[in-house]
Symmetry: C2
Subunit: 325 residues, 2 copies
DNA sequence: CTGAAAGCGCTTACAG
DNA sequence: CTGAAAGCGCTTACAG
């Protein structure tokens, strides 16, 4: 009783005792049980927000699509997903979602790469957690990722088979694990075809904070570009077009993600579609198994992507290639 | 005890009794109390899904942005938002979110226009509800909407002041209340400036299901277009450009929403920015007041928009205008 | 097959 | 200022 009053800052407890109780609560790692209050009050302190699918639908962001699939699988299992959009400030200041301290959830799925420090913070929470669409050196985290490495490898192979020899990669290698792995897949394809790896053909596309920067084209233009995502591919195509370079006649471009930019681009982009359904299902089922048995671990699970063939790739311009080398 | 077993389809109750109990439960409008089970089990049956802001960030859909503001205000009040993306099928078959029957929420905010039938279904739920960004003839619903009418009126005034006389409106008037009201604002501006309202200049942009269709340009081109949203304005600009018509030199175009398409378009669009922050705050505070006192009602609350001036408007081409009429 | 009772972790009216 | 007790609506082990 006194403890309850103290923690809720209500009257009837001396300030001194209050402080003592609060301090001890923190020391003991006490977390409020929202369910008990809910039952007592008859209030859940949740509000449902209904958005019709067509308004988030085809043009929506990749992660919102993944979220939608996640909630579908959760619901099938009698669970609900509570979306928490982590803002930049909370990530930097290492602030955990209130969802956790209020004991509103049984676990967390982190969708999209966060800083190493934030990963560690997430790991410190005493609930199961899954990381989706990225991983990092923390070997003990459970993650579900697209097989970026192989997909990029296969995509680059397509370009090589079309006769391309001077192939650039566009992406900041130090930004996310996805960008890095896609680069390595690209590199594997070069190695396998005995093509030289030219550092001048690895082009940066964003600064450390993830903001896109102007892409510096090399003096001697490649005949093909492997871009780390569709959005950057789209920007690149715009840039090439504005310079009077025809895509794909003079230059082939491939993207990654098969998001809105893939079809918005002119020409439409050949790209890799991530298997959202499979990723969501795997993440949810692993999560529920961990709730049943917290000691279970899954490590890094890879989900295959599919190449989507569209109009941004053609055979390498034979002459220019021979001449330019 | 027996009731509990019956409802959960567990052994130890005769099939006959089970049916009797289940039937009665439905008749009495029984809804499961998830909080009580949560307390007993020590499980909330919620999973937190964390998405870093930068991945849904600047390019994200309008409604996701609104959702983010809503959750922010909810959290400030000790509440949480649970996002339910209503799929087309559930909307047609009039299926309510499981969130409701499972008693997981204290109220609903419906964000984006749903069918009349679905509105009535939502109204039948015995919890407070708020409608956001749309309304309809149901006079008893509480809604928060942008002042579409005045914003479109002001935007059209801008075009008239730039000398435009032949101004088209692009949008399906029967699709949403927003599109309809924006049209009426456009019409008011015409009336006020004694400009004729030409039905040939009201162009359809989507079918009844909201899918965009090819826009039929009138034989004699207007000098300006008021589009019901940025996405359609973007499509229109692309179409005009592909026809060799320069925007804004030969044709001015304005949009609505100030979403990703407004800046993606070339030239960037003059448009109306909706006051997301104000809409979210109003919706949340009204909702919480209704939870305290279910008989409270707010009716239709309007939130002002702001015109954003960019590069898609210029003075009407003086000669062509005179000549063409 | 059916039911009485305890307990989950809070809050709140009440007594000391 | 402090604390014993009841009750919110379930589930589950136990008894009949």
């Amino acid at each position: 009783m006194t403890v309850s009053k103290a923690l809720n800052d209500k009257d009837g407890v001396s300030g001194e005792l209050k402080e003592k109780i609060k301090l001890l609560a923190v020391q003991m790692g006490y977390r409020y049980n929202a369910a008990a209050r809910s039952m007592k009050e008859g209030l859940t302190h949740n509000i449902g927000v209904i958005i019709p699918e067509r308004f988030t639908g085809p043009t929506q962001s990749f992660y919102v699509r993944v979220f939608q699939r996640i909630t579908k699988h959760l619901e099938d299992q009698g669970y609900y997903g509570i979306l928490h959009i982590l803002n930049v400030q909370d990530e930097e200041e290492l602030i955990l979602p209130k969802l956790y301290s209020d004991n509103k959830v049984d676990g967390f799925i982190v969708l999209g790469q966060v800083s190493k420090e934030y990963i560690e913070l997430v790991q410190s929470m005493e609930v199961p957690k899954m990381f989706l669409d990225f991983y990092d050196e923390h070997s003990d985290i459970d993650s579900v990722v697209t097989d970026n490495f192989y997909a990029a490898y296969e995509l680059t192979n397509v370009l090589v088979q079309q006769g391309h020899r001077r192939i650039a990669y566009v992406g900041n290698l130090y930004s996310t694990s996805s960008i890095q792995d896609r680069f390595l897949g690209y590199y594997k394809s070069l190695l396998e075809h005995r093509l030289p790896m030219n550092p001048d053909l690895v082009l940066n596309d964003r600064d450390e904070r993830g903001t896109f920067i102007e892409i510096d084209l090399p003096a001697q233009l490649p005949t093909a570009f492997v871009c780390n995502c569709d959005q950057v591919a789209h920007l690149l195509v715009q840039k090439l077009t504005s310079l009077g370079i025809q895509v794909p006649a003079q230059c082939s471009v491939v993207g990654f993600d098969n998001d809105i930019y893939a079809t918005l681009s002119e020409p439409k982009l050949t790209t890799v579609e991530v298997d959202v359904e499979q990723m969501a299902r795997t993440a949810v089922h692993s999560m529920l198994k961990k709730i049943d048995n917290p000691s279970r671990s899954f490590g890094r699970v890879h989900v295959k992507g599919n190449i989507i063939y569209r109009d941004s790739v053609s055979a390498a311009p034979a002459l220019s290639d021979d001449v330019s080398n």
